[in-house]
Symmetry: C2
């Protein structure tokens, strides 16, 4: 059946993704050693799609494809690849092809490319650059990883804040080299401090004598060069920025960040949160090898093992009760499981609200109260359902009552733990997406088993 | 302790978020009925921050604030608000203030604002618009929700594809009204079909006699007007687009989508995936009322109840075995829990890979094999650990062997189910982020309990 699905998944991928046939054609050309056919097939593809293709085929095919493709391999493909595949290809590529490929790139893309490489690979790429580019890349690398300094481009189009539209247009028209992509002219004061942004569109549609300051955008935000890239992405998303000037500690203009880079960061951060919430290393990629994937998943499973052994220790305290009434063993996982799920709901909402800055000192107490109330109401609802099931299944109203009471307790605790644990972790400087799950599940498991079995001992035995 | 943390969370929010003191000052001004102070405090805030502030205070304070703020309330704040709060405010706002606020907005923001409102509220807003804007909004609303047609703006700056740079610049300079934000001039053929994009920066830096077609961007992508907005966001992210022309079924230009809107969609889609994976309705917001939140969380907990009752039914088959050896009841949740966690890891990776189109027909089999192998290797590792724990804890090598074997079985099954279930759901047209968790957990619970208890019966009793 899966084979059938393979086809259907490929078909449902929509128009942007490569379909299975395209990939098959490319691999056929590689099999035939037919360089012309390969180049013809690859020609219409965007570098991002070629990178996806390389990620989706196996290592042997990848090596053969890259060798056959030869000189055509360009830098953009390299910068679109996942880290693991990129490192693999840098090893395989002919040094001359690699040098050629890297020289085509903008310096901020080269930074992005070399920052994760090992020393010798980094050297190989830096050596391929012209001296001025190499200096620019090396200077970027002096900023901490994940900082605005790493993200920015250094080429900025600026104008003195006393100019008018005519002066700015004449200045731009007279430039030999303007950056490939720019959207604003940054207005600077005499000490090079940015004071405003004028969009090119606004510039184009204004009369020559109009002062630039009078058509500057209303929303203006500068980014400190040491700011963490997640904060940068947040600012772009919150204030709908298109580009923003980056300033040093003296508020002087040192570069500019554009929305496309901020969008990529936002997407990566979200991806990391999703994976971490599920106990998967945020850096995991589908193209990782089995052994790397195994290692990346092991720690979380290890934490979970400790968690579940703790829960088992709780159960072990009630061995005698269970041996007297085996129905307890049958029903106990239900209470723990419901608590775990309710806790995961609360903690996910809390983790996201912290990430998007929607959960702050101003509403923390209201949110805690809300989560506890939601736990209480859903707890009562499921207590009724489960109480009835317990009575029907085991014919014991007392047993039904015990499971109902344990359900209410565990869902309230789940709501409370689900919000409190991420907040405490954030305060302690630990990423709440990474660690909340383990703590919350421990709480709901322990409380679930203890409440249910403890009440059973009190009421039933 | 939480009170202490309240403060610290506020402090660690970084410079973009409102801190608790700002909110307190605003509320104090409201308490004092001091309109001037309120306006002075709100003046420096971006509309997005004011919206956040309104979301974070309680309904009573919100009402008083909005009444006091009066005429100052503008349309941008309205379009930044969460749906629930927005509806609440539309009820409260003076009709004249509302009309004023809405008239300030661009038509695509009005569309975004009215599409989720009830009929009477929608009418109230449409009535406030000028006739031409109302017609534009109503036409946008004819496109399906979540389509490119809803997302696009209609004002496009275009030029015939035979023009040169000089002609384009003269044309732009002569326009009375250009859109607030635009980044490209779209080149169109005589039948109004877009054939290329020229960035304003490129236009500015080229000589007058250069043909526009010769400086068009290399990457050019048109968006069909009926395309789903998630696909649009994917295209922007994949191909690093800044703006893209939208075309109708005859490939004629009907509008343009800009990256800031695509970024917002990408962020929303990721947010939905995160929440859905945790069994929370993707539309949930922190500002929802307790009763709405309870209702939104209930269905998933209901599904989980069914899942765990199924698991209990499996356990019930082994009541006799458990009553003979209560250690089985103590250890059985460990196997199920490890399987659940491993399954969640696999399914999250699979769901994300489907969303980002990294999992396709070309690599499905390799990914399935990888997940099964990862399950096997981690299964063996934890089998050894748990086998030893079992022996030490209960002094029974046979019991250790049983739990070890069950662990391997369940982790392999978890890897397989974690990848196969999302793929099958995607094929069936069900959102895998929404439904995979329930199915995978059912499988790992049932297999976990059955393998452990079944092997115990065979080996130990």
């Amino acid at each position: 059946m899966l084979d059938d699905i393979t086809k259907q998944v490929a078909e449902s991928d929509g128009e942007y993704a490569l379909d299975r046939k395209d990939v098959a054609k490319v691999l056929y050309a590689v099999d035939c050693d037919d360089r012309d056919a390969l180049i013809e097939l690859m020609e219409p593809l965007h570098a991002a799609d070629i990178a996806d293709l390389l990620e989706q085929i196996n290592a042997f095919d990848r090596m053969r494809l890259v060798k056959l493709y030869g000189q055509e391999f360009d830098g953009e493909i390299l910068s679109e690849l996942d880290d693991a595949i990129r490192e693999e290809l840098i090893e395989i590529l002919h040094p001359q092809v690699l040098a050629e490929a890297v020289r085509e790139l903008e310096t901020d893309d080269v930074v992005d490319l070399v920052e994760d490489l090992d020393e010798p690979q980094q050297e190989a790429i830096l050596d391929a650059l012209e001296d001025s580019d190499r200096a620019a890349v090396e200077q970027s690398l002096t900023f901490p990883e994940f900082s605005a300094g790493r993200l920015m481009q250094r080429e900025v189009v600026m104008a003195p804040d006393h100019w008018n539209v005519g002066e700015a247009i004449d200045f731009l028209r007279a430039q030999e080299h303007l950056p490939e992509q720019f959207y604003h002219v940054v207005l600077v004061d005499p000490r090079l401090r940015p004071v405003g942004n004028v969009t090119l569109g606004r510039l184009m549609s204004s009369r020559r004598e109009v002062l630039l300051t009078s058509i500057a955008e209303e929303t203006f935000q500068t980014i400190p060069v040491m700011q963490e890239e997640g904060e940068v992405a947040y600012a772009f998303n919150q204030y709908h920025l298109i580009s923003a000037p980056v300033v040093d500690e003296n508020d002087r203009l040192v570069g500019v960040i554009t929305i496309d880079d901020a969008m990529a960061v936002l997407d990566e951060e979200n991806e990391e949160d999703i994976l971490r919430l599920a106990g998967v290393d945020g850096e995991s990629r589908l193209s990782d090898r089995v052994i790397d994937t195994t290692k990346r998943r092991f720690p979380w499973l290890g934490v979970n093992l400790i968690t579940s052994v703790l829960a088992s220790l709780v159960i072990a305290q009630f061995e005698e009760a269970i041996s007297q009434l085996v129905a307890l063993a049958v029903l106990m996982p239900i209470v723990a499981s419901m608590g775990g799920n309710a806790g995961t709901q609360s903690l996910t909402v809390a983790v996201r609200a912290l990430a998007t800055k929607d959960l702050t000192g101003a509403n923390l107490w209201r949110v805690v109260r809300r989560e506890v109330l939601v736990g209480l109401v859903n707890g009562i609802a499921f207590a009724v359902i489960m109480g009835v099931v317990g009575v029907i299944w085991f014919g014991s109203p007392a047993l039904g009552g015990v499971i109902a009471a344990a359900m209410v307790i565990n869902l309230v605790v789940a709501g409370l733990a689900g919000i409190a644990i991420p907040v405490v972790l954030e305060k302690a400087g630990v990423d709440p997406a990474l660690a909340s799950g383990a703590f919350v599940t421990t709480v709901t498991d322990v409380v679930g088993f203890f409440a249910f079995l403890g009440l059973a001992v009190l009421v039933l035995l």
